[in-house]
């Protein structure tokens, strides 16, 4: 028996469920990966309710808070991780650099560790057992159409600016959307939050109240739930300002339509993904899964994902798999010296282009909050539903 015969079923969001990764894993490790891509909610649901339908869960850290207590995942022994050292601090103690302030919300390190493989409660600091091994993450902000807006945008508050009535959008995924809302409300000076990542009922009511009013006033053209929708809304000019994801910006630009991932003075809303091991994995399968995780952090995948506009959890290892120009453009915020291509080889930027928001440290250093699951999550979700239905 050999790990080459093992098949692993990976379920995850579209963010990183790329068949190229599976193909490369087959090539490098011999492991067969079956990837299923779902939207965030469906992924969380699958992991929480169908423990036997997957071997590896590729989920976001905020989901971790929801699904870990189900006991469907097992803690990962960090001693088995070859590249543990290379993982950036964000995923260990929450600090990108020693002087970083820890952002609000479900920051990865707060749900990143457990005392032992079986424990259902999160540990406060590094323990040697990770819940997820971090893979990709990014700092999100608002996407805008500079050509249609024609003036600089600097604040999250612009999302509710009446100037954009009928031309704004927000995403309809409550855990993420509520953070965007909070950024906006805070920027507008309407609400000062104790902790955006863990709002009180009153704060939730107030936040959603402000947005409900805006909705009724016709501020929003639509809400989007899927990547594709956000791209189309932007590309077709239905919307000029909205919450957006990085590769979506790339997709809009690839069509020759100007689109900016606008850095804002209040900072970014961030998210992170990681791979979790299904509880039922053991023996050869477990070995294969660990092998896969090590491979994941070893650089090739990192490079691949960085070209998508994400960041690798172990950026150093990826450097070997990227050209200097790519490294400079994507990570260091330098102007490109040649054409920048997507992982599929499509040219997406030409020489001279600079990444929106600058370098890795500029961007990840300005994270204002993380996507979150709050204590009042159920209440928030109901309110969110009301907001959508209102």
């Amino acid at each position: 028996q050999d790990i080459k015969d093992v098949t692993l079923r990976q379920v995850g969001t579209g963010v990183s469920a790329f068949n190229e990764i599976a193909a490369k894993a087959k090539e490098d490790l011999g492991i067969t990966l079956e990837m299923t891509a779902l939207d965030s909610d469906a992924t969380a649901q699958r992991v929480a309710t169908q423990p036997n339908s997957f071997d590896i869960a590729d989920i976001e850290y905020w989901m971790c808070k929801k699904v870990w207590p189900t006991g469907n995942l097992q803690g990962i022994d960090t001693s088995k991780l070859k590249y543990y050292d290379k993982i950036v601090g964000i995923f260990k103690d929450g600090k990108l650099t020693p002087e970083s302030v820890i952002a609000q919300g479900s920051a990865p390190h707060t749900v990143g560790f457990v005392e032992n493989a079986e424990d259902k409660a999160f540990a406060k600091e590094e323990t040697g057992f990770m819940t997820l091994i971090p893979t990709v993450y990014n700092a999100d902000t608002l996407g805008i159409r500079p050509d249609l807006i024609g003036r600089p945008i600097e604040s999250w508050a612009e999302l509710l600016n009446p100037e954009f009535v009928g031309k704004a959008s927000i995403l309809d995924v409550s855990s993420i959307g509520i953070m965007d809302m909070a950024m906006v409300c805070e920027a507008m000076g309407e609400i000062t939050y104790g902790d955006k990542g863990n709002m009180t009922k009153e704060e939730i009511d107030k936040t959603i109240g402000i947005f409900t009013e805006a909705k009724k006033a016709g501020q929003f053209r639509a809400f989007w739930k899927t990547f594709d929708e956000s791209v189309n809304l932007m590309a077709s000019g239905e919307v000029v300002i909205q919450s957006m994801w990085s590769p979506a910006i790339t997709a809009v630009r690839a069509r020759g339509i100007p689109c900016v991932y606008q850095p804002l003075k209040e900072g970014y809303r961030s998210w992170g993904n990681g791979l979790g091991l299904a509880k039922h994995l053991s023996g050869l399968q477990l070995e294969a899964a660990q092998e896969y995780m090590n491979w994941y952090l070893s650089g090739w995948v990192g490079g691949f994902l960085m070209r998508q506009g994400y960041y690798s959890a172990a950026p150093e290892t990826s450097k070997l798999f990227m050209s200097d120009d790519e490294w400079g453009y994507w990570l260091e915020g330098k102007a490109a010296t040649g054409d920048i291509t997507s992982p599929q080889g499509q040219v997406i930027e030409h020489a001279g282009a600079v990444r929106d928001g600058g370098s890795f440290y500029d961007r990840m250093g300005h994270v204002a909050c993380w996507n979150s699951v709050m204590d009042e999550n159920q209440y928030m979700v109901r309110k969110w539903n009301e907001f959508i239905a209102a």
């Binding site: 079923r9 379920v11 579209g14 469920a17 790329f18 068949n19 190229e20 193909a23 990837m35 299923t36 891509a37 779902l38 939207d39 699958r46 309710t49 169908q50 036997n52 339908s53 997957f54 899927t226 990547f227 594709d228 929708e229 791209v231 189309n232 590309a235 077709s236 979506a248 997709a251 069509r255 020759g256 599929q344």
Partner: protein, 280 residues
């Protein structure tokens, strides 16, 4: 009456034409947009014309597994089709006479038709998760879809048997046929053309079913779920290329269906080429 057409005829014809355009608008839009140039997007204008997106469709996808989903949907469609035909025929036969509980069962079947799909999906999903079973397109998915195709098949069979003269069966029995032989040699061949209709219905209802499969398909997507998933990840006219291909595929299915009927009819008429040559 082949007198002059009344004015209303022209009005209604115009209405019909507008309706057809309305009906076909999206299909045609999809058709055109699927030939977008490689640079083109999901919306007008066209940026060149090419087969690029069809080509893409046949390459390995960045995300997901369209062809796997297609194969699953196709297989599931065939299974649903077969079960729908068999079960509907059986139920149709049962309903040819009154039996205790027939009315209750009848309304249960009607209920199956009108109860919102999402409820079935939710309910089946709940049962499976509470029982600790794994949802799979071949188990829960199949069952959930049958709750949708069976009522259709059943109602069609009722309609067929409403018009089926029992004298044929009596004649067969008179000739010494057992119940099974009666069914096999007399009833089945006579209802066969209609069964093709039931089969076609069963297949397409399953092939295109979204809501009932949503929570019951398990870890592998069927085609509609995959298409839905693609809207999450694929921002290219490939989606339309897929749409165009599914439409074409549907045409092929109907074509085969109509062809089979025509062939059967042709074969029947050929058996007596001297037809009409003089009758008493």
């Amino acid at each position: 009456m082949d007198t002059k057409r009344p004015a209303s005829f022209y009005f209604l014809s115009a209405f019909f034409i507008v309706f057809i355009i309305f009906l076909y608008g999206p299909t045609i839009t999809i058709g055109i947009l699927s030939f977008q140039g490689p640079e083109g997007g999901l919306t007008f204008p066209m940026r060149g014309a090419s087969l690029h997106w069809f080509d893409e469709l046949f390459k390995t996808q960045a995300v997901g597994d369209v062809w796997g989903a297609f194969r699953r949907s196709f297989a599931l469609g065939l299974i649903v089709m077969a079960l729908t035909v068999v079960f509907s025929v059986m139920a149709g036969m049962a309903f040819r006479r009154r039996f205790v509980g027939a009315t209750v069962l009848f309304y249960l079947i009607i209920a199956s038709l009108v109860i919102p799909s999402i409820l079935v999906s939710l309910g089946v999903g709940l049962i499976f998760s509470q029982a600790g079973w794994t949802v799979h397109w071949l188990s829960s998915g199949l069952g959930a879809q049958l709750t949708w195709t069976l009522p259709f098949g059943f109602l069609i069979m009722l309609a067929i048997f409403n018009r089926f003269n029992p004298a044929y069966e009596e004649a067969a029995r008179d000739q010494g046929a057992t119940a099974w032989q009666t069914f096999r040699y007399v009833v089945l061949p006579m209802i066969a053309p209609s069964l093709l209709g039931v089969a076609l219905f069963g297949f397409t209802l399953s092939y295109d079913e979204f809501a009932r499969t949503l929570l019951t398909a398990g870890s592998r997507n069927t085609l509609p779920l995959e298409i839905f998933g693609m809207t999450t990840n694929i921002t290219t006219p490939m989606l339309y290329a897929l749409g165009t291909l599914t439409t074409i595929f549907s045409f092929v299915v109907i074509g085969v269906f109509i062809g089979t009927l025509a062939f059967a009819a042709h074969r029947r008429s050929r058996r007596a080429s001297d037809a009409g040559k003089g009758m008493v």
